[in-house]
């Protein structure tokens, strides 16, 4: 059997983004031994890149806001496929979780009376996002990291988990390798929290980093957990598109929140042309009203640029397809125009959107205070993920929990901007709390040596295939294929073709080689990640074929409308006994009467307006 080091913890948290850190802090606070592993250095996880803010109905800017409105907004945004219990808990607990960060040292931007300032974002009825300029994720991860390091958590950086270990159906640990030396580690533990983030690397154009290869979803799936809502991938409407090397990098929705507008090549504000029925009452019907909204006028309705992301992304795509796109195949996002409205606009933009200013200046030679940006859709987030219990975040596998982007349920068919950072806090805490409870309540586990050897053997296979295909080529081909066939606009034929392509790619992935030695070898790591990317790609495609309608992040050319019957189920995917992917329709959770009432009241309130 291959050499490895063993670590023992009560709770192992996989992932050190917002969800993982918050889970680890909570578990440690309850007195159990906690280990935390991450693929990169501490503080570099995806959460650091979040820009716009964290949604929490504190009502600091508009006191008409409340958890009920936030709940209704989240459900409407998710097209009612959300787990209503999660949407409720999220809306209720987010304010506490955000304020708690302040007690740990976070410095959010302030209102005039000294409280946490909140900004507008798409799909949120009132200004709701606590933020720090456009670097909210950095503030959040730093404050959690800096608080966490004093909590007695064992942090294992640059360590990648490749397999979960089971003891008679219960979680018993995890198998991992460290990047630095390429050596194996075995973590023995009673409970695991998966907080590994998303799957963006399955696509060619993405705002996500190399870490986002669907590891957590695949680890859980392999261990017997179920995946939910995998067809719902969020394509963010505004990624950079020029020059080619920056394609996909995110342009925060905050630009539109601060008054930025979308135009086609004719200079037309095309978003006014197509406002969905269920948002008509809350959307401005002229530019002047939209502008007043962004400037805090409580009687104005939001501009159509701040409609949900799925809709805005498709409108941009339509403009491009119909020949009205910008020179590099996108739309113009103009914030510079606000100089017609306010004095000192240049400085104002730099202060409100410093990293956007910096990013365009440095990477595209564009001064956003003078010139419109060129933007287009980019793969951003997955609403689907590990299916968990709404209260405890535990999956079907006893002792296996999931939180953050890796888990599913809160966002339904489409996530509202800002609802992820708050998701990490609310459900990260819950996962940590219940994982610790589980570890306290349940006895010791045994690590099965056969499982460890099998995992070690699998991890080393690429080295046995000297001269095998280059893993980067297979990864790139997969990304191109998914972008083309299972991207933002989908069709039956193309997706069926994708299923065939996936089989071919799986065969190729089984033959990729790694050369060099085990020390810090990205080629080897890419080879290992491929399996995960293929598993989640297959799940996405399979579910996308099954959902024969258009809803939220899932848009089909051949079924362009919503289907009332399809609103009644979620799609669940799991690994069958023979190893093949299985899928079923599961009746959507009923919305309890009291929550239904809130949704109806909110709908009425916006009509009166």
């Amino acid at each position: 059997m291959s050499d490895f080091t063993t670590h023992e913890h009560d709770v192992l948290v996989i992932g050190a983004g917002g969800a993982g850190l918050r889970a680890a802090i909570e578990a440690a606070a309850s007195g159990v031994k906690v280990g935390l592993v991450c693929k990169s250095l501490l503080g570099k996880a995806h959460t650091v890149m979040a820009e716009g803010g964290a949604a929490a109905a504190m009502g600091n800017v508009d006191d008409r806001d409340s958890w009920k409105v936030h709940f209704a907004d989240t459900m409407r945004g998710g097209q009612y496929l959300n787990n209503p219990r999660m949407a409720q808990l999220h809306a209720q607990e987010a304010p506490e979780r955000v304020k708690e960060l302040e007690a740990w040292g976070a410095l959010f931007d302030r209102t005039k009376d000294g409280r946490i300032l909140q900004r507008n974002f798409g799909g949120h009825r009132y200004p709701r996002l606590a933020h720090v300029g456009d670097r909210t994720g950095l503030e959040m991860i730093r404050v959690l990291q800096d608080h966490g390091i004093h909590q007695g958590i064992d942090v294992h950086m640059e360590v990648t988990v490749t397999k979960l270990l089971l003891d008679g159906g219960r979680i018993a640990g995890a198998f991992a390798y460290d990047r630095e030396r390429g050596r194996f580690r075995v973590f023995k533990c009673k409970a695991i929290v998966i907080a590994t983030g998303g799957i963006g690397r399955a696509y060619e154009i993405t705002s996500n980093s190399w870490e986002y290869t669907g590891d957590g979803q695949t680890l859980a799936y392999d261990a017997g957990a179920e995946l939910l809502d995998m067809e719902f991938v969020q394509f963010h409407p505004t990624g950079m598109i020029w020059p080619p090397s920056v394609r996909g990098i995110l342009v925060t929705e905050g630009v539109r929140g601060e008054g930025g507008v979308l135009k086609n090549k004719a200079g037309e504000r095309f978003m006014f042309k197509d406002i969905p029925e269920n948002y008509k009452n809350q959307t401005a019907d002229n530019p002047e009203e939209g502008w007043r909204y962004t400037q805090g006028d409580k009687n104005a309705r939001r501009p159509p640029e701040l409609l949900t992301r799925d809709h805005v992304a498709r409108c941009i795509q339509r403009e491009v397809r119909e020949g009205r796109g910008s020179p590099h195949g996108g739309a113009f996002l103009d914030i510079a125009w606000i100089k017609e409205k306010i004095p000192g606009a240049k400085e104002h933009i730099k202060k409100k959107l410093p990293s956007m200013y910096h990013q365009f200046k440095q990477l595209a030679d564009i001064d956003i205070t003078e010139t419109p940006m060129e933007v287009g859709p980019t793969t951003h987030y997955i609403m689907g993920g590990v299916k968990v219990d709404g209260d405890t975040q535990m999956s079907k596998v006893p002792g296996l929990f999931a939180a953050g982007e890796a888990a599913a349920g809160l966002h339904g068919a489409n996530r509202l901007g800002g609802n992820s950072l708050s998701d990490l806090l609310v459900f990260g805490k819950r996962a940590g709390q219940f994982a610790a409870e589980f570890a306290k309540k349940n006895g010791n586990v045994k690590v099965d040596e056969a499982q460890v050897s099998a995992a070690a053997k699998q991890a080393l296979e690429p080295f046995d295939r000297q001269g095998g295909e280059n893993p980067y080529t297979v990864q790139q081909d997969l990304q191109k294929m998914m972008q083309k066939l299972v991207g933002i606009v989908r069709q039956e034929e193309e997706m069926k073709q994708a299923m065939g392509e996936l089989e071919k790619l799986k065969a190729r992935a089984a033959k990729v080689g790694a050369f060099g030695n085990r020390e810090y070898n990205p080629g080897w790591h890419t080879a290992l990640d491929l399996r995960n990317l293929l598993t989640v790609s297959e799940a996405i495609t399979r579910a996308a074929i099954e959902r024969k309608e258009s809803r939220g992040g899932h848009f089909r050319d051949d079924y362009p409308n919503k289907d009332a019957a399809a609103a009644k189920f979620n799609l669940v995917i799991w690994k069958g006994d023979g190893g093949a992917q299985q899928m079923r329709r599961e009746a959507r959770a009923d919305i309890p009467a009291d929550l239904k009432q809130i949704i109806d009241d909110e709908a009425k309130a916006t009509e009166v307006k």
Partner: protein
């Protein structure tokens, strides 16, 4: 567009050498793109850290033609392309492999700095009140992405290797952010003097010059901290230190 030659440091630990690679450079590429392209084409096992590719995570620090840079924010068209472009790991920390260094010292240092300790909440609901102008300065320091480029250029660490007695500019401004936090009640002046070696900084301002976040490390952070230490230990009369704790 054009073929460009790179000389990239390859090796493990102290052993290693520069190896030459050629790759095609197209419009808009940054140094990190070129490194990735080389990795995918001909050096699959070349070690490099990166995450965001947008200057937000501070992972991709290296020395490009001798200048400490974030590779993801260094445009190829800002470098002369008729000569080979040299890329090597930062120098203030031990090398692990290729462009990756062992920065674990930084994480250990941070743990030694006393953590944030807020005053009791201002409002019955457990929240505080702070004015934006009182937090502008600590917010400036909190822009830090922990790229450690400032640590790399500080001669106290780079040339004199005084990692034992000096925490470096990154952690001086980390301490400054805590000390200037309007809610914080901890006192770190003694540690600054005795443990963190603030006296070893002789205000060369090299750190400020390389900071990709444009944090005015020396003028806004280190100098006020130095003054605070002087006030605390050498000038007992002036212990009020208004700039640090405006509300306390």
């Amino acid at each position: 567009m054009s073929q460009v030659t790179f000389r990239i440091w390859r090796g493990e630990g102290k052993e290693g050498e520069f190896k030459e690679y050629k790759t095609e450079i197209t419009e808009g590429m940054v140094v990190l793109d070129a490194v990735h392209q080389i990795q995918a084409e001909s050096a699959g096992d070349m070690a490099v850290r990166w995450n965001c590719k947008a200057g937000k995570c501070g992972s991709c620090s290296a020395e490009v033609n001798g200048m400490p840079k974030l590779m993801c924010m260094t445009r190829m068209n800002t470098l002369p392309q008729d000569k080979p472009i040299t890329i090597e790991p930062i120098k203030a920390f031990p090398r692990i492999k290729d462009l990756v260094t062992d920065v674990s010292w930084n994480f250990d240092v941070k743990k030694r700095i006393k953590k944030f300790k807020p005053r009791p909440p201002d409002a019955p609901d457990g929240t505080w009140r702070m004015q934006q102008e009182d937090i502008d300065r600590p917010q400036e320091f909190r822009k830090c992405i922990e790229c450690f480029l400032c640590q790399d250029v500080c001669h106290v660490l780079r040339d004199h290797h005084m990692h034992e007695s000096f925490i470096g500019p990154r952690f001086l401004i980390y301490t400054a952010a805590l000390e200037m936090h309007p809610l914080d009640t901890e006192n770190r002046a003694k540690d600054l003097k005795d443990e963190f070696g603030i006296g070893l900084c002789n205000i060369t301002k090299c750190c400020t010059k390389v900071c990709p976040e444009n944090i005015t490390i020396t003028d806004n952070g280190i100098i006020p901290l130095k003054e605070r230490v002087v006030d605390e230990f050498f000038d007992p009369v002036n212990k009020l230190l208004r700039i640090f704790k405006p509300n306390s």
